[in-house]
């Protein structure tokens, strides 16, 4: 029997509440939220790949691609319009993942994981060594404009509104894709590729498409982060950045397109508090949180919500 799907109304309500909250939250919370949404967009793409049974440890490549696309366009061509820059970031993330996908789509397991990391470290090396790309110092972004208007005093709020709306659109699009025929067929790839092939679907092509989609989302995440931070540097492409995205995916779970947003917010809160109160030991706090999540919530934080709704115990919906 078909069951009613309330995901899209839920996304809309959550986004509306977040927008209302934006008008009362202090600037530093808005800034943290923007950074969290930037990460959540990357994790949204990771969720898709995770469901296919692959764990990329190089998603920072496309994240940095989006960020640098935004930064370089402003730096060299003076383009500051948020909509043009967003489209460029998506194109750069998608373009890079389309190229890497020709190779990545052929591999599974540890080979896929390490190959994706290798690609991101190549970009990191190029960024560090190239003066025109800002080298180790990176590049400062020009102030973003919205259709010619430059938000000055309300900059964080404007960026927050943009990030929430973009996050909402991306979550809805990902949900629609996951419910579509190719989206649903992506899940059983992890269980039986041979059967998928004999159902008339090319697994390699499907994986390539999913990699491109994840790359586009990572590029958008890079753009949101760059807009908010106002600076891009090679750290965006470093493997620890990719590790952070994997961390959030484990913490959040892959049971819903809303999980990455929940996971990214919790991750930023833990990191910020740990960094503020125990600056010398913040990594231990983060590592401890990850261990607790793996031991007690193997399906991630979303499994708590799934359990509350009477879903499967591990919060996985496949």
């Amino acid at each position: 029997m078909m069951t009613s799907d309330r995901t899209i109304p839920t996304i809309t309500i959550v986004a509306a509440l977040a927008l209302v909250l934006g008008f009362v939250l202090p600037e530093w919370v808005l800034f943290l939220s923007n950074v969290a949404i930037g990460k959540a967009l990357v994790v949204l793409g990771l969720l898709l790949l995770w469901r296919c049974g692959v764990v990329p440890f190089g998603q920072a490549l496309f994240f940095a691609g989006g960020g640098y696309g935004v930064g370089l366009l402003g730096h060299y061509y003076g383009i500051t319009d948020i909509f043009i820059l967003t489209i460029v970031a998506a194109a750069v993330g998608g373009g890079l993942s389309a190229l890497a996908g020709f190779l990545l789509a052929r591999y599974r397991g540890i080979f896929f994981t390490m190959l994706s990391m290798a690609f991101s470290m190549i970009l990191y090396g190029v960024l560090v060594k190239t003066e025109a790309l800002g080298s180790t110092d990176g590049i400062g972004l020009k102030r973003i404009t919205v259709l010619g208007w430059q938000p000055e005093e309300q900059f964080e709020l404007a960026m927050y509104i943009y990030a929430v709306l973009l996050g909402m659109i991306c979550a809805v699009l990902m949900h629609v894709y996951l419910q579509s025929v190719p989206g649903r067929l992506s899940e059983p790839i992890r269980g039986n590729e041979v059967r998928v092939e004999y159902m008339g679907m090319s697994v390699q092509r499907l994986m390539h498409i999913n990699l491109i989609i994840a790359g586009i989302f990572a590029g958008l995440g890079g753009a949101v982060t760059a807009f908010s931070v106002g600076h891009i540097d090679p750290e965006m492409a470093y493997w620890t950045t990719s590790g952070g995205f994997v961390f959030i995916t484990i913490l959040a779970g892959t049971g819903s397109v809303l999980a990455p947003f929940l996971g990214a917010v919790i991750f930023e809160v833990i990191r910020t508090l740990a960094f503020s109160y125990v600056p010398d030991y913040w990594q231990i706090i983060l590592g401890g949180a990850l261990l607790l999540s793996i031991f007690f919530l193997p399906g991630g934080l979303w499994s708590l919500i799934a359990m509350a709704k009477g879903g499967k115990k591990n919060g996985l919906n496949y």
């Binding site: 579509s180 649903r184 059983p188 059967r195 004999y198 008339g200």
Partner: protein, 263 residues
Amino acid sequence: MDSIIEITNLEKSFGSVVAARDINLKVSAGQVIGIIGANGAGKTTFVNMVTGYLKPSSGEIRYQGRDITGLAPEELTRIGLTRSFQIAQVFPALNTRDNVLMAVGATDKFRGRTRFLEPLSTPERYAKTARILEEYDLGSHALQIAGELPQGLRKLLDIAMAVASEPSVILLDEPTSGVSVSAKFETMDKIIGALKANEITALFVEHDMDIVARYADRVLAFVDGTIIADGTPDHVFSDIRVRELIVGEVIERAKADREEDNA
């Protein structure tokens, strides 16, 4: 009658080992063909080559007049030639209904019957899935997790998923292996009945000669990678080489199966 499949000089070698050689065959639409042979005779290699799982070393396979030699499984499925497996290939974490629903959705996708980003779960697809499940007597197991189904039902599910791709030809690799001796005829009744009702040409690999004699219009006997006898069941089973090289061995195997089943 025009041939739906025409195979010429098909050969497959793995290094110095020749697994299939000199296979020549014409299959007419609507036929049900039993493939017999001892273990290692080349039956599964033959099925794997025709269905794109293995690339032949030489030779040609034509389907509806088109050269399909070496085409990938997904391309063959799209043009109407598919298979089931000796070890049932299902999605073990999904329930029986969703397994078939996936196959129905994939078929709609490659036949261009879906709109961009249309959801998989539509009332039409659920209805079609329910029809297929009923046809293969899987309706009462619709919500059971496929990985927990008994072997016989998993084999039926495997075949139901293959049939969901609306093929003209299906190759079944040992459809009753793992099914208890007492349930073999019942299982084959369902499979062959459904295939005939849908006018699907079938080639099935089988070790049980009673099954072959009862369901096949034509029998191919494989020995050492090639076909040594081809004809009606009576004709092939009366061939002295078949009796010496295949039937004797499978009678022993059938006895062992029955003893295992009784135990």
